[in-house]
């Protein structure tokens, strides 16, 4: 069964708006390494529109431009991921073959994906991930906790309706020069 992985940057108080964070080179390398193990991305509409075409464009950056090497490397690894699955009732299919739009049941679609063969499935975006965490479908969590309390915005696991507390197993905690701590957990 393929693993469903969720990786996100978060403030100490659990807010995930990407504009709060300025990942440094160490963090970009960390994300790139997680992404190397991905064979598919899963997005809701908002995160899909945030990531594409932004990262594919960075991947096409000719050498000598301003972008950091680590960003270009992340972009290349991102662009190499084979499938993009977007959950949206409103988006139209973009017409290029690696992306497909899904409008049907989340639970069923994820189970189907997991039963297929291939590398990890990476979910991006907080809303979708909350729903998947609630359904108990996320196998691995990477929370990159930044040394900042922001007070508001899109909250990690907001509105998650858990029948029981979700117990996890810590497999790694890694501190970076910038004060970010990467916490990696497996679902029990």
């Amino acid at each position: 069964m393929r693993k469903l992985v969720f990786a996100i940057n978060t403030s100490l108080d659990g807010y995930c708006d990407h504009t709060n964070f300025f990942p440094d080179e160490e963090i970009m390398v960390y994300f790139t390494n997680i992404t190397r193990d991905a064979g598919a991305f899963l997005y809701g509409r908002k995160t899909y529109q945030l990531m594409i075409p932004y990262w594919p464009d960075v991947a096409k950056t000719p050498p000598g431009q301003d972008d950091r090497e680590v960003d270009i490397e992340y972009a290349r690894v991102f662009d190499a991921v084979e499938d993009i699955v977007v959950f949206s009732r409103t988006l139209d299919a973009p017409g290029e073959k690696k992306t497909r739009i899904v409008r049907t049941d989340l639970h069923d679609e994820i189970l189907k994906l997991k039963q297929g063969s291939g590398k990890n499935i990476m979910v991006g975006g907080v809303n979708l991930a909350s729903q998947l965490a609630e359904l108990g479908l996320i196998d691995e969590y990477y929370l990159l906790v930044h040394p900042i309390v922001v007070g508001g915005g899109v909250r990690l696991f907001e509105g998650i309706n858990l029948q029981e507390k979700l117990k996890l197993k810590l497999v790694e905690s890694k501190a970076f020069k910038s004060g970010v701590v990467a916490l990696r957990y497996l679902k029990q």
Partner: protein, 189 residues
Amino acid sequence: MRKIISFMHISLDGFVAGSNGEMNWIKVDEEIFDHVGKRISETDTALYGRVTYQMMENYWPTAGDEPDASKHDIEHSKWYNKAHKIILSKTLEGADLANTTIISDNLADKLNEIKQQPGSEVLLFGSPTATHSLIQQNLIDGYWLFVNPIILGRGIPLFADIQERIKLKLLNTRQFTAGVTALDYTVER
């Protein structure tokens, strides 16, 4: 200047207790007690909100005397009875309690006065309501957090009604066998 450090066990989604104050999900074992005990033993002053204080006062004064007292019970009980305790409460009275000061008003002034005195750091144990108030008045100088490997979904948050961003500097992290990660931050000003 003395610092006030917020000392909390939290869930991964940032709660310090369940919606009804449940704390049964908090993992503490000998490894964690030993680690925590070291820093506590260097502190001469504890700060509490009323609710947490009442829980502490109900247990710690005599915990070390019980026949089945653990090593941690004995140590922390001894420490608790010696430590100076500051309680933030508008309703509690106790001018005659040993080693105890109750602050019922002029919180910022009184705590700043204490910070100017010589002494160790002040550990604010739990006390989410008091912590929220102190954060809003910019009186918390550091956070010593024990992140538990659990998502609660709802509960009493560590951070609430934050009006201004708080920049932090990570001093230390430590991973425990129980799956808890200690995060030690100082507030950057």
